[in-house]
Amino acid sequence: MTMIFGVPLAVFMGQLTLGLVNGAFYALLSLGLAVIFGLLKIVNFAHGAQYMLGAFAALLGFRYLGINYWLALLLVPLVVGAFGVLLERFLLRRIAHLDHLYGLLLTFGLALIFEGTLVNFFGVSGARYATPEILQGGLNLGFMFLPTYRAWVLVAALAMCLFTWFMIERTRLGAYLRAGTENSQLMQAFGVNVPLLITLTYGFGVALAAFAGVLAAPLYPVSPTMGSSLLIVVFAVVVIGGMGSILGAIITGLAMGIIEGLTKVYYPEASNTVIFFVMIVVLMLRPVGLFGKEA
């Protein structure tokens, strides 16, 4: 059997694949954070809670309204995104002129309120969300058994990442957005409704988190605390990629998934910390992050 650093090739390939699947998740979540931070300069600590709200909306929608997975994938981001729009319009906007710390505190507080409220009603054990029928079962890749649903997560998350990158970097709307955050007064002078643009961007970032939440619902138990443990890792990914860099978030997300996956084979005890180790090294060598622009 071919060995790579003492690990059979098949095991190595299997871990690489799983790392890629997890990486796609990190990419999707850190992308939402990066969009919000890059364009609005808000450190959105409610991102984990909004991801959790996405999963919960899918679960409750199925339980009480009979909304199936595919419809949820479409509707939930819209509903949770609309909720995000309300948050921006009525809360975040009021403190937009203050130091970034206030936004951080506000969103952190909101996250605690969302989590606490749901814990009160649903407890913390979590609930199962059934995998849609056509994605059940698995694919035999020769070196491993890959559950079909995980393969789908990889495809869906990457497609969404590319779509977002394209919208922001390659379309006129994206150009308005970038210009609006660079110099909002000038943009307003040109007749562009900048506040509306900002509200919608925040809503979009929240919708991305909710989309990831729906994708995660069949994978992990849906519980009010599912977002808080993930949020810290996702923040580290954003910091490594460079705060606000769209492409940086995507590539770093995938890379960190793979690094974490390989750590789980070679030294599992460190798998929770390896990303932070990378973060420290990157910050020491390149404080703005791998893809960040020098100030």
Binding site: P8, A10, V11, G14, Q15, L18, G19, V21, N22, G116, V119, G123, V124, S125, G126, A127, R128, T131, G138, M144, F145, P147, Y149, R150, L219, Y220, P221, S223, T225, M226, S229, L230, G261, K264, V265, P268, E269, A270, S271, N272, T273
Partner: protein, 407 residues
């Protein structure tokens, strides 16, 4: 630094308590009330295991007892320890110093229980630990001021691992949470497996907590072991089992052995993912008529079936109150001695008695999770396979490191 602070704080607390000369040795109820504190994780990982439901169970016990002992009303205060040993210890210190609390119940996270029982020992209080797993609570951490009620890691490892090996599961792969509790459980299981003629062929120590187990499950599949033992708890166990079912672990001929798994975990996971899982439990709501009757009353209050911990909180509170009544005082030392003198035989505990190390031993049960076809309702989850007699279930006193045991 924190150690010094803690020691200082503790010494000040002791000094304050003794200088105030709070008399606890009155021959009747201190302050004319029996005061019970309920300390548990009310909002975090262990909420569904004990949490608000445990408080309801305690309130049910007080109500069933009549709400007073010899005319002295029974008062319950409750607090959330947030799974923090510091928060727990400070809360209990406050309860003893300011509120004259006579007994502290609940007590879930092992780290909190160990810290709280130290405070109780310094202040001559009384605690009944119902939710914690660590067997060290009545071993190296035993005190004359607490009793451990429902279960601990010793019978969990012993009951489940032994039964699994006897059924032919003689090669094990261990999935262990990388902290004290996981290591202890892994050591207990390894010992039992090897003594029963099985072997440990491999294992992974995963960080606590871990949400994605796919990588570890893949390694377990590659190990060729017949049994994958889960030396973890709560959300980690739930996540590991979910992932194992997604990766078709059981379909490919391997079997899972959950070493610390509760009714609420199985309920959350669903029978599809957990079917045929072997586990050891201290109580199950559908064990017999007595259990069903109490569980139904609990269900009517809470809307969920009780876990063994919630049932144990009722049982221990009831036993405490009976002891207070029999002794005619709520003085901790007298009541603890009285509790140990009375056998425990109720809907929860069979052949129950309290040993000198503070361990309440009672019959434990080996259970198997039902298949979706066998189950007839939302909470019809376990089938009890056999009874592990009280005398065999727990760590024998001859192996005890407890300072209260003469070896």
């Amino acid at each position: 630094m924190t150690f010094i602070k803690k020691t200082l704080a503790a010494s000040i607390a002791v000094a304050a308590a003794s200088s105030l000369a709070v008399s606890t040795a009155q021959a009747d109820m201190s302050d004319g009330e029996v005061r019970i504190g309920y300390l548990a994780d009310m909002s975090g990982t262990y909420r569904d295991l004990a949490g608000p439901g445990g408080l309801t169970a305690m309130e049910m016990a007080v109500a069933d007892f009549g709400g007073s002992v010899d005319g002295a009303p029974i008062v319950i205060s409750s607090a959330d320890d947030r799974n923090s040993a510091d928060v727990g210890a400070n809360t209990v210190r406050g309860w003893i110093d300011q509120d004259n609390v006579d007994m502290v119940g609940g007590l879930v996270a092992s780290s909190v229980s160990i810290a709280v029982t130290k405070v109780l020992e310094e202040n001559n209080g009384l605690g009944i630990v119902s939710g914690s797993a660590a067997s060290s609570i009545t071993n190296e951490h035993c005190t004359p001021n607490h009793i451990h009620w429902v279960y601990d890691t010793y019978p969990l490892a012993n009951g489940t691992a032994k039964a699994v090996v006897e059924q032919g599961g003689d090669s094990w792969f261990m999935l262990t949470a990388d902290y004290a509790f996981g290591h202890a459980l892994e050591a207990d299981v390894t010992k039992v497996v090897e003594e029963s003629g099985g072997e440990i062929v491999g294992g992974v120590r995963h960080p606590f907590p871990t949400s994605d187990f796919s990588s570890y499950i893949l390694q377990a599949q590659g190990s060729g072991a017949k049994i994958v033992g889960l030396a973890n708890a709560g959300a980690d166990t739930v996540n590991a089992i979910t992932t194992a079912s997604q990766f078709g672990l059981t379909q490919s001929g391997q079997q899972l052995a959950g070493l610390l798994i509760f009714l609420n975990d199985v309920h959350a996971l669903g029978l599809e993912a957990t079917q045929n899982l072997l586990l050891t439990t201290g109580w199950y709501w559908d064990m017999d008529e007595q259990s069903r009757e109490w569980a139904q009353r609990y269900f009517d209050e809470v809307g969920r079936m009780p876990t063994m911990v919630q049932a144990g909180i009722y049982s221990s509170t009831m036993h405490y109150l009976k002891a207070v009544e029999a002794a005619g005082t709520d003085d901790p030392e007298t009541v603890r001695a009285q509790m140990a003198d009375m056998p425990i035989e109720d809907f929860f505990a069979r052949n129950g008695s309290i040993r000198e190390d503070g361990r309440m031993i009672h019959d434990m049960y080996l259970a198997q999770v039902k298949t979706p076809e066998e189950s007839t309702g939302e909470w019809d989850l376990y089938e009890i396979l056999s009874t592990i007699p009280a005398a065999e279930a727990y760590r024998p006193l001859s192996e005890s490191q407890c300072k209260l045991v003469q070896n």
